[in-house]
Symmetry: C2
Subunit: 321 residues, 2 copies
């Protein structure tokens, strides 16, 4: 990872150290077992070397919270949650790539799950990962975390995943692109494009990013005002992440992206770029970076805790894939 804005902090080094721990933990949660094809298929998508952006976000907010009542290291405390988030994310990619959805052949430069394992197994691998994520979050979070805290995390992860989160946003996106009908009496047609876009992305990609930013701090029993600020930071980051995605679809190339660019434009999809143009989208990103950094300064975190969170926001905005 490289960042265009933060100079004093080396995000590459910070991320690499934590990513090694995340990979190790994911590997331990996904040991090959029976039935073998299912575990192979789940492992293929989870252990395919993603950026682990969401997991890093969860660990970074855990590390940012200072709480003398918590004796465990924040990374140890948040690792099962970080891995659960990565599993839910992998599940969403597997199901999104299926022929009845985006019908994609490439993901992170490799054939998509169903291209390797077939549609039936890809479907079930996604289902399996969703259930496994919840089981691991509950069973593998260290036992000195309060049961009420773990319950809160598990409920909120499901909420971020389900009809009010990722899945709901996916449906709204399908309606916006004409893949699904909006149903009788829908008011979607009258909404302006911007508020529709915001609603889609707040759920589709934003809900899991918001959960990632919130969950690490929640695990460290952060105060409610701090949690609220991190939710705000997560929301800004979520929208920025999506605008950057839309920009990359316009300006990126297949080698750095690892997937086919130009698909949104070709499909006539409404994106930040089609609504605002390339320059408008870049301006919106610059505003969001400033706003996100303002929110981080209000948390009262020490400078060394703010630096990675600021760098992760910068990365979401300035990344090339």
């Amino acid at each position: 990872m490289a960042s265009g804005t933060v100079t004093a902090f080396d995000l590459s080094e910070y991320a690499a150290a934590r990513r090694a721990l995340i990979e190790q933990a994911l590997e331990s949660y996904l040991k090959e077992s029976s039935p073998r094809p299912l575990w192979e298929s789940m492992r293929y998508s989870v252990l395919s070397g993603g950026k682990r952006f969401r997991a890093l976000l969860c660990l970074a907010t855990a590390e940012a919270v200072e709480n003398s009542d918590v004796r465990q290291g924040p990374i140890e405390r948040a690792m099962s949650c970080a891995c659960a988030i990565e599993m839910v994310h992998a599940m969403s990619l597997i199901h999104d790539d299926l022929p009845c959805m985006d019908n994609d052949d490439l993901r992170r430069g490799k054939p998509t799950n169903h291209r390797v394992y077939g549609e039936a197994l890809a479907l079930l691998a996604g289902d399996g990962l969703l259930a496994l994520a919840n089981e691991i979050l509950i069973r593998k979070t260290p036992s000195d975390v309060a049961a009420a805290t773990i319950l809160d995390l598990a409920a909120e992860l499901s909420r971020a995943t389900g009809p009010d989160g990722m899945v709901g946003g996916q449906v709204e996106d399908c309606i916006a692109t004409g893949l699904m009908s909006a149903g009788k009496g829908s008011t979607n047609a009258g909404e302006d494009k911007l508020s529709l876009l915001e609603s889609i992305h707040k759920k589709k990609t934003g809900a899991l990013l918001r959960f990632s930013a919130w969950s690490g701090a929640r695990l460290m029993e952060a105060s409610q005002p701090v949690l609220n600020m991190l939710v705000r930071y997560g929301d800004i980051l979520g929208i920025a992440f999506q605008i950057a995605d839309d920009l990359l679809d316009t300006t990126g190339n297949i080698q750095t992206l690892g997937k086919t660019p130009g698909k949104d434009l070709a499909s006539g999809k409404v994106t930040w770029v089609t609504v605002y143009g390339v320059e408008g989208a870049r301006k919106a990103l610059a505003d969001m970076e400033e706003e996100g950094n303002d929110v981080l300064r209000q948390t009262g975190f020490r400078e060394t805790a703010i630096a990675p969170l600021s760098a992760l926001l910068g990365y979401a905005i300035h990344r090339s894939n």
Copy 2:
């Protein structure tokens, strides 16, 4: 529901009273919301008048446990869990019916979810129900149930759903029918048909039935020996349920079944009937009914608590759809 074995106890009346409460609770958890097509699709499959067998099982084991420390009514205490189970069950039916799986057009005498809403929405409705089930189990279980108990329930429901449960059994079933490859170095080919069948059904249908029987008693803080007996009862019921299903595929008709019979035979699927024949399968069912009732007597439950559990076992065995 009609039962062929229990005379002193009226299962129809018992089930109808509870089913009305279950429908009411499901309706309250699935209020139409945004995005509308997603909620419509989820409601279509969950509120389509199933038998609610799993939910009844959960309520019945809750009602069977006498615990003076628990002040709440067992039905009130177990209802969110019973509804979560029904949502997971509905999700499994939606995904199983998809073209890449069983490619079924009819379910409970009505068009399958994807025949009404399309494949993309059916896929997402299943995903949404899986997440919603967990959220409801956690957020809607009465607050005087210990957090540790709710955590245990949520983790076990995910386990019963995921790679070690329903989803894993579904994959094993696909391998057995040749829809999927068993993968390199698999030993499945050498296993005898019976142990393969038992493994498939213990996971595919058995895991959720076992969870149903266990969860109601767990919510009432039953003792570990009693919980173990109910797990045994749930396991017997799970296998019996599947043998009865296989028999119905051979001997049932489309009007009472609400789906097309003879599909297993036509597809060359290994079932209890193809392994044992019709008479062998009937004999196995009779043995299981006896064993299940023995286990129930060992629980020490009062007679009026055993009656519904015995009748539910009898129903699973003697049902006509």
